[in-house]
Structures are given as structure tokens and as C-alpha cells.
Symmetry: D2
Subunit: 262 residues, 4 copies
């Protein structure tokens, strides 16, 4: 059978990224102080395509991903997977990203009851200009209570669910646990959110948030301070969004930064 993808292209355009998107597959994740677990993930992968070729071979992405998924290799070790994709497709660069659902057992603050909380996380590996980089992403739901509303109102203060999305790139020889990164972020909000709260917990969470008012700007700045405490982080993108309880729109803040190695 003729291989159309391999036919010569005359348009003279090298393509930066071509590949597959939203490929659902099981992924094995290393957990802090627990055995590894298998999670649902959605993969997006791409390579560069030289100007002389008409198309890439999409099925090879799936072949590598499937083989790699079958071997139960860890999500955090995607360097080899990406390398294999790039080799099989004879490309000079490429990237791969897994978005996945990750459960962490969480204890309520007073009754100490434990229930699972689910976090949207991601691993991304990129290979450009002969350099491999790894990125870890987490989306953390928290409570924010408005300092202005508290200050000007006789009683109460509006508060709401917010999502803090953080993507970090760190040194290859370092390791950062998802569990630790999430805990750091949660400590920067007016309060954590929980799956299971009994009445004593609800009292605690309500009062803790009231005593700890935060704008979306405050959460952003406090998370940045936490990031700067980790010397292995080389860059980050941080996005905080509050689904305002008094509006039908959101308040948001964003920061990105490269941090040179000292």
C-alpha cells in the first residue's frame, strides 16, 4: 500500500506541531507514601514535521502510548516515552502531555474524618532544541473570602469557590510530589475545600475563612512566595480564578516567570 504521508511536499513549510489529541488511556501514577495507582488520563502528543514530508504517521503515536501504558510505566517518567515517539517519527522535536484525575485522601479539620478529594493534574514533557523539560500541573479548588466585603459590611462577607491552576517546570534531578504542591497552594487561600465536613468542621471552615480574607491577588502573591521557596523550580505559570458569589462572572489574576538557577 502506498504511503501517502511519506510523499514529497513542495510547499516548503516545516510544521512545528502535528499529532494526536484527547487520547484517553490508563496511566500509572506514583503516590507519596502510598502504592502506585492507575488513573484515567487524556494524552495529547505532537512532533515537528520537516518541510519535505506531506504528513506524519498518526498511528505511531498510539502504538508508543499503548506499549508504554501496558508496561505500567510511571507518568512522571515520560522522558523515554517522548524520546521513543520522536525517534519513531524521525522528528527533531516534540511534546507530550497527560491530563489526569488524581485522588488524595483528605482529613476534615475537626472531626478528622477522611474522604477522597479529586484534583485535575497534568504531566508534560517537551523536547525542543535538544533539551528535555518536564512540567507538573495542578488545579486546586479553594475558598476565597473577600477582604473588601468583610471590611465594609456589618456582618458576613461574600466568599466563593476559586480554582488555582499552577504549572511548574523544575530541574531534572529534583522531584516534587503532587501532594506537597497542592498542600502549599491550599495554605494560601482563605480556606481549603473538602469533600466531607461535619457540623464542627463547617463551623471551623467558616470561621477560618472569615478570619483569613483573601483577594484573588492575595492568593496569587502568596502562592508565588511559596514557589520562590523551592529552589528547584525554573519557571511557572499561575492562574487564579474566583467564581464570584455576587456576580455572574469571575475575578482572575495571572503571573508567569522564569527563575534562573543560582
Amino acid at each position: 500500500m502506498k504511503d501517502i504521508q511519506n510523499s514529497k511536499d513542495e510547499r516548503g513549510i516545516e510544521i512545528q506541531n502535528v499529532g494526536v489529541k484527547d487520547v484517553e488511556l490508563p496511566l500509572t501514577i506514583q503516590r507519596k507514601n502510598k502504592t502506585d495507582c492507575e488513573v484515567w488520563s487524556k494524552a495529547t502528543a505532537s512532533v515537528s514535521l520537516p518541510k519535505d514530508y506531506k504528513g506524519t504517521h498518526m498511528s505511531r503515536f498510539i502504538e508508543v502510548l499503548t506499549a508504554w501504558s501496558n508496561k505500567n510505566m510511571l507518568g512522571v517518567d515520560i522522558k523515554q516515552c517522548l524520546k521513543e515517539i520522536i525517534e519513531k517519527l524521525d522528528a527533531k522535536s516534540g511534546e507530550i502531555k497527560f491530563e489526569f484525575k488524581y485522588f488524595i485522601d483528605k482529613e476534615s479539620p475537626v472531626s478528622k474524618l477522611v474522604s477522597p478529594m479529586c484534583y485535575d493534574c497534568s504531566f508534560k514533557g517537551t523536547y525542543y532544541n535538544d533539551e528535555y523539560k518536564f512540567y507538573l500541573g495542578v488545579k486546586v479548588p479553594v475558598t476565597t473570602l473577600c477582604p473588601c466585603s468583610k471590611e465594609i459590611s456589618e456582618n458576613g462577607a461574600h466568599n466563593q469557590r476559586s480554582i488555582v491552576s499552577l504549572n511548574i517546570h523544575y530541574d531534572d534531578d529534583a522531584h516534587i510530589w503532587i501532594e506537597d504542591l497542592i498542600k502549599d497552594i491550599e495554605s494560601c487561600a482563605s480556606s481549603d475545600v473538602y469533600s466531607l465536613l461535619k457540623r464542627a468542621d463547617e463551623k471551623f471552615v467558616t470561621e477560618h475563612a472569615y478570619n483569613n480574607p483573601k483577594f484573588v491577588e492575595d492568593v496569587l502573591r502568596d502562592v508565588i512566595i511559596k514557589i520562590k521557596e523551592k529552589p528547584e523550580i525554573r519557571s511557572y505559570e499561575l492562574f487564579c480564578e474566583s467564581f464570584e458569589s455576587i456576580h455572574n462572572h469571575s475575578a482572575w489574576a495571572f503571573q508567569k516567570e522564569k527563575i534562573p538557577k543560582k
Copy 2:
């Protein structure tokens, strides 16, 4: 050209609904105390298909919808549009639904500044068993403040954005304005939400919500009382969902009911 759709089907199965979905088109809407306006809408339409026919003629839905959209006929008058679709497709029953974005100018409670609020609304017409019925739907964002959290906490109370979704069917000779239905629903929550709030408004809204705590169950019951005050309503479906600020999940309540004419 052969008309495959018209060929005889031997499977003996009459189909209840077959048609088109998510057809975006402009729709003209009658506004209370304002001139008509054109809005973005998404139409879904279907007819029944007799057991002897292989398929319906999908393009005829679009022909009727386009002709009807061009004549700037009002969304609320979809009876004729549905009748025409049913005739053109030689069907015995059918239905049509428009989901649309609707702006209402809203005044902030203290500073009296006016800004547009957008509501997701819908018109639906159904024709089954020789009977036409019209349904009006609105989705109304509001604030709910938790009565339990207020009661047990020394200060503050968790609150959040909630969505109240109401679909009503009312007598053919009656008319209910979207504007009025939304106002009724908003009056049942801890507070309205607004696009534009200055500091004096924010103080008012915060304190009003604090003095007016409501469970999702309270909002549901209060909206039901409002519904029962309108003698022209023959049935409703009511769904309230609170995007809890202390959890990463929702609290919800649902009720549906037929109300016989007295």
C-alpha cells in the same frame, strides 16, 4: 436523483424523534417595555417518522428555520414554525426548542447604576397527540448563604453562586414575560447577583445575603410558592444547584409537577 430517505423500511419501527440539533441561528425576541431584539440562539427540532420510511429529510428543518428566522418572527410564536415543519415532513408529531442568550438591564441596589445581565433562556414548542404546548425556560444565577453555617459560626457564613433552572408550561392564551419570571426567582434567593456593584452596593448585597440565609431547599420551596401564585402555569420542572464554596461538589434540589386547571 434517488431519494433514499423515501425508500421503504422493513424493520417495522416507528421513530419518536428524529431531526437536527445545535443549529445556531438569529432569533427575534419580544422584550417587556423595550423594542424587539435579535439574539443568538441554538435550535433543536425533531419529528416522528412512520415505520414505513427509511429516513426523514433533514434539510427541510433548516429550510423552515431559515425562512422563519428571515421573517423576524418572534421566538415566542413558534407554534406556526413547528406546524410548518410537521407538515413539510408529513409527520404526526414533533417539537422544537430554541436556547438563547438574553440581556436584561439591571440596576444595582444602592448606587442605581445600570448594566446588562445575561440569562440563558429557552422557548420550546411540542406537538403530540394533536395538542400543542409551549414551554418557557430560564436559568437564573443567584447567591445562597448557608443557614447552618451562619447559625453555628461566630462570624460569617459560607455563601456561593447558585443556578436556579425553571421550565414552565402555561396556558396558550396566557403570556409570561421572561423579565417577570426572572425577578420572581431572584426574590427567592439570599441575594440577586449583578454585573456591576460599587462599594455601597457590595455592602448592601453582603448584608442582605447574611440576613437572608437560604438552603437550596429553601430556594426551591420559595420558587414553588411563586409558581403556585400564577394560575396560568400548568406544569413546571425546577432545578436548584449551589456550587458550594466549602466543597468541590454541588448541593441540589429538584421538583416537577403538573397543575390541573381549576
Copy 3:
């Protein structure tokens, strides 16, 4: 601490459904010819609330769900879980639904390569009028190739991805495997879809679809015939949607039916 939820309500309105929604938690699933596996799921649960009570106790839903999730009880055995929720909340009726991501290894048609395909599935248990009912839901992506386009065109025929969504309720003493239900549905389309297809497979799939043209009406009717072959099915809801490749909207067909026991 005062239990506000337990306070007396004077509005005289019994609520049909009140509960929690979109609670993410791990769920154990029984697989055909494989060991059980743990999947990501999203639970929605509700009970009825008598007219005399102001509110339900939302945290009890999470307590039961967490305990049940920790015991690795099977998703298909949700009868006890629902019973416990109803008892703990002193309700007369209730329901619970888990939506989950389910992987099945699938072999490509010619090269016989195996890769995982992910399906959106659901288990639902309801308890109304002293009767328990179980529902199984699957969403199956398939290819549909248009019979009209094939007939009237000299070459080719438009085809597209379609989703067949089927919910069935069957007798309590019967068991239907997800794997079997999906295979039945896939056999009713122009072709299956796959994660991994090499060129020989792509040739097969393309030609198979071309030789097997199906309207959305055809898929619906053929799935209904498959359903009727299973004497244990007591009711179904079937929805087929084609994301048309020549339009920016969908074609769809829907059928629901109760099937009395013979």
C-alpha cells in the same frame, strides 16, 4: 450546636429530590473476563424530604459514599449503598448515579493490534414507591456513513463520528456486561471506531463503512432490534447523534420504551 436542618418547615412542600451532585470518587468495577478495576467516577445522589423538615443532611451522603468506596464495593451493587443513604436520611425514596470512565482493550480489525478504548458509562439505582430499579448507561462512539450521500455521489460519501447513548433498566436477577452491550451497539453502526489503526486496518474500516451506509435512523432502529433480543430488558432510552461532517450541526434520533415482562 443547633441542627438548623432539623427545624420545622411551615411551607407544607415535600421535596422530591435533594442531595449532592458531581462528587468525584474512586469506584470499583467488575470486568468481563478480567479482574476488578478501580475507575474515576462522579456521583450524584438524592433523597426525598418530608414537608416538615427544613433541610436534608448533605454530609451524610458523603459519609455513606466514602465508606462504600473504601470497602471497594462494586458499582453494580449500589442497591445497599442507596438503601443506607435512604435510611440514614430517614427518607422514603432516593436515587444515586455514578458516571465513570471505563477502558476496554480493543483489537484492530486486520493487524489485530490491541489498545485501550475508553467509554463513558453509568450505573444508576432508584428507589421510588418501595421499588428498587437499576439502570446501566453507555455512550458509544461509532462511524456513520450517509446512505443518501453515497447513492447520489459518483465517488465517496460523507461520514462522521456519532455517539450512541443507551440507558437500559433490566430485571434485578439478570446481569448484562458493559462489554457485551457496547459490542452490540458497535455492530449497528457503519463501522466501529478504534484507538489504534494501521494502514491495513484503515483500508478495512474505510471500505467497511462505505459498504455499510447508515442514517442515524438506521442505527437507532438496529440498536432497538438488538435491545428487543434481550428478554431481561424492561425499559430503555436511546439517543443517537451524528456530528455531521458537511454541517456544523448534528443529526439525531431518540426513542424510549417500556417493555412489559412476558
Copy 4:
């Protein structure tokens, strides 16, 4: 009332972007060869925040947006709106984006019937380093028919709906019509998609796509060639995604480029 936002911040962190997100409001759009029209839009706006200030004043964004919406100023003229936001908030940089639904009347290829097609479009203005830039975005649904599938199969070829997303930045003194940009993109696919197609049109569209097979890579390259023909374009981001009819995942290609002025 105290202005908490204005209080001094000691953390020493200047924020790059802080503002409002998903504010729905009506927007006036200039159309090619037609009168202006009002569309539904969703605005996201932000400014920078100096390190000395605790927070921005979120309500001022809405004030400027509302005033500007009331004056029926054109979406394409957002320079003044952004300037006013930046001044009112005493910031040094900022940006604003409107995403909106835009209808264009489209003629079917053979029967010449006209019906509205809806496109997701966006206007974005940014002001960084004392320089204003304007970006126009369009998302265009098209058909792609697989060249490989056509070549290796005896009959037919798989095809599907694809979305081409293009964002361009062009010289301030130039103007590019949405209508023209969309037409250029549609000409690069295997076929346009349409709202209304009669049988003669369906035959044409099917055969045209079959005679015009395109990988996602081909569409990307052909759109790039079209972009390069416009000397006023200074940069672009181009994303093509095919919702494969034989898979449950997508194929995609991406390119971005700065084009220096000659």
C-alpha cells in the same frame, strides 16, 4: 467606607494580569457590505497591578465596559476602551478580549439557497511596553477527507468535521474583514460546511471533498500560504483539529510565527 484595595502591600510582587473574566455583554460589530449588528459576547479584561497595592478595582472594568457597550462602539475599535480601563485603574499595561458569535449568510454551492452560518470569533487588544496591538480570531468548521484513506481504499474515504482556529495580529492602519478571513480558510479545506444543503448540494459537497483530500497538515500549510499573501499580518497562531471519524480522538497541527514588516 475604607478602600481595602488601596491599602499598601508589603509582599513586593507586581502582578502581570488581574481583572474580570467571562463578563457577558452585547457588542456592536461592523459587517462587510451590511449594516452593523449587535451580537452576544463574553469579555475578559485585565491590567497590571503595582507591587505597592493590595488589589485592583474590579467594578471599574465593568463600568467602562458597560459605558462602552451602551455607546454601541464597534468591537474592532477597542483601543479606546482598553486605554480608558488602563487609565481608570492607573495601570501601566492591560488587555481586553471579546469572544462573540457572528452570523454570516452563506449560499449553498448548487441550489444557491442562503442560510445563516455562525462562527466563533474574537477581538483582542493588548497594551504592553507602551505598544498597542490588535488581534482578530476566527474558528472555522470545515470538512477534511483523508488522502491516505482515499489512496488505499477501493471505495470511499473517511472524512470528518474539523475546526481551524486562527488568530492574527496585523498592522494598526490595516483592516481585515472577518468574512474574508473565513472564506480564505474555508478554501483550504477538503470542503466548506454549510447549514442548508439540498440533495444537489450534498452531491457536490461529497464529490468536491473526495476530489480534494487533505490531511490536517495540508490544511495548516495551505492556510499559512494564504496568511503570507497578506502583507499586513505581523503574527499568527494557527491550530487545526480534526475530530476523526474512525477514532475517538483528534488529529491536530499547530503553527505560530512572527512576520517582520518588510
